[in-house]
Amino acid sequence: MTQETKVIHQILEGDTESFRHIVERYERPIVRMIRNIINNRESCEDIAQDVFFTAYRKLASFDPARSNFSTWLFTIARNKSINAMRKKRPVSMSELPHNSDAHNPSDELAEREFFGELDAGLEALPSAQKRAFVLVEFENLSYAEIAQIEGVRIGTIKSRINRAKKKLANALKEIRYEK
């Protein structure tokens, strides 16, 4: 029995406070995933709270024989993100995270331009491609885990990721040619 499974048993037996371990372990990956998918800094923490609340309420339905806990939690986050994307307002580039360590102004300007182009490229990806890309590139999940989260075959995930990467690579190429 893993440490995580033990914690889940404790929670199901009434030790509510143990759920804090789950929240503290997964808060960053879940918030990051949601933020990269829906691209709205204000609402992503509220959605993430909803993810944990739903996970708590449905914890009894988690079956360790069918998936890892993290896969199960990411599936809830994926569903909440899809719902949020249906309601979301457009986001301006200034809302996107910016943390540059470039040294001179022209480097910084070029970097911002590249980042802006990549941000726009990511934002423009079809929803399913974007989710697969975010899960593999930012959360380092395996293709098998992503396929389980998305409820599709591994081959489908591979092709979604390849297409997403090609589109982002093209976005980068275009801006280099323009320069």
């Binding site: 804090r20 929240v23 309420r57 943390n99 970097e111 990549l118 590139e137 980068l172 280099r176």
Partner: protein
């Protein structure tokens, strides 16, 4: 800058998140509230007040119902007065 460097820098930038410190506390307090409410009867007075004040549409509905009931009462009194 090479494409790969740009890409990695971009990935790193998007991986950084500034999560508010109270995040876990907020989740836990919502869960404790949920647990507390689970044990309470569905329609006790306190819960009804909390329910009404938590949703603005419910609040608006209650106010509208109050206004309609008040108007109906006034019309009933006026009608009875005129009927005399």
């Amino acid at each position: 800058m090479k494409s790969e460097e740009i890409y990695n820098a971009w990935k790193e930038r998007r991986s950084q998140i500034d999560l508010r410190e109270s995040f876990a506390d907020e989740v836990m307090s919502r869960i404790y509230r949920y647990e507390r409410d689970k044990g309470r009867p569905l329609f006790d007075g306190q819960r009804l007040i909390e329910l009404i004040s938590a949703h603005r549409f419910v609040k608006a509905g209650v106010v509208t119902a109050g206004v309609v009931a008040g108007l109906a009462r006034i019309m009933f009194v006026v009608y009875n007065f005129l009927a005399c």
